[in-house]
Symmetry: C2
């Protein structure tokens, strides 16, 4: 029997930022071909079953679901421990539908699954089982922030979260600035929204005045913005960052 | 007078892979909200005016253009020299429409503008002029390849092209493997399509047997595929890679 595929379905970037009833028509923010494929999937793996059902309701408003929502099977990924995926549990049981010939969707809370979220281990397990992996195109807050930054897009790195401890964070910021200077490589990072201001302060405190710093918030939403400036200019007038919306920080040492 | 914005418009990933007449309906591969915004823009900066007109014809089939195609102004970016954008010419003249209050589109040959292409310098010039930069969501072959690879999506770097000289390329491959091991960071790279096989051979020749290698080709097209395997398995059975379609290579040292 032919195996099913693991289909990576992008989510919008508006989760948590707007109530579902105010959310834009899904057809405005995802390609119709993606919505069509999402509508026919009967089995899913997700970070969160509840928000996936909300997503499927939005799908249904554009392309009717292939079967009633209550008959769609949604399994949740185990909560990921921070750090190396090597420590993750065996995810092969979650792939059972695909091994039985049924296409399986993977979706995250926002943007592309398996990028800056725990889905990568499931994708790796799929490859190990000989399951074909098909990624569908959708928004990525990291790449939108990079594009909008104007910083080097020919060499860039995403490094996730910085340490919370102040001394470790300062050392990490200096290390990233040094890597950026040596490799002429943009360094991208994220932070939990309520710590956005603290990360901005740490970056302004420890980066050199000529380094370029870019901050993007709430991209694809009406209030979204990107600011790119030298650290000297940021210091002269810091931005007020939202405490409830994710931001992407990018630096390029010159 | 209020300035216009610089709007970053994503392109599809099917350029060069399909004839325009066979190309999928743009509504299948880009969000309707993006197509709607592209349709109303009257001024563009592009890598190539001819392919941008072909793109706008596809836009017009979904959302009628705000004015006739021949009245839409398309300026071309200067051909970028490889290397540091610091060497680039002053791009401010290209921003004249935005400085005069007209929204200006930026588009590349494939995927998101200013990522792995010469548009970043224009975006940086826009920030320097106080022009608001608005990125629209669309496909990125790099991020699709990363998501589909199953390799670490919590820390990754895109490093562009490797050196063509064999000895330099071998040294660079070993350097990237060493960075990947130390930082547990996925390293992504691209190659000119006719050198895909040569890059595969070099990677298989110089990486360690336990390193994970992922190759993605033609993602979002029917013939697209992603293979992730240890270097040992790749050596046992290399893949035949297309010589006319771009591939993304990713490695993670374990």
């Amino acid at each position: 029997m032919a195996k099913g595929r693991l289909i990576l379905v992008p989510n919008t970037l508006d989760f948590g930022a707007v109530a579902v009833l105010q959310a834009p028509d899904l057809g405005e923010v995802l390609p119709l071909g993606v919505i069509r494929q999402a509508a026919r999937l009967t089995h899913w793996v997700a970070e969160n079953a509840k928000t996936t059902r909300a997503f499927l309701k939005r799908v249904d408003m554009v392309v009717p679901l292939g079967r009633p929502l209550q008959d769609i099977v949604i399994a949740e990924l185990p909560r990921a421990a921070k750090g190396r995926p090597a420590a993750a549990p065996d995810l092969t049981p979650l792939l059972a539908p695909a091994l039985q010939g049924i296409d399986l969707g993977l979706i995250s809370e926002a943007g592309l699954p398996a990028v800056a979220d725990p889905g990568a281990a499931l994708v790796q397990a799929a490859h190990a089982q000989g399951i074909v992996v098909t990624p569908l195109a959708g928004p990525s807050s990291l790449l939108l922030a990079l594009a909008a930054s104007g910083l080097n897009g020919q060499s860039f790195a995403f490094v996730g979260y910085l340490p919370v401890d102040a001394a470790e964070r300062a050392a990490r910021i200096r290390e990233l600035e040094s890597i950026s200077r040596r490799a002429h490589q943009t360094q991208l990072m994220i932070e939990t929204p309520y710590r956005n201001e603290a990360l901005q302060a740490a970056l302004l405190g420890h980066l050199q005045a000529t380094t370029l710093l870019s901050v993007s918030c709430a991209l694809t939403l009406p209030e979204g913005f990107t600011r790119t400036d030298t650290v000297a200019r940021w210091r002269a007038s810091p931005s007020q960052l939202p405490t409830d919306k994710p931001a992407v920080f990018a630096l390029l040492a010159t």
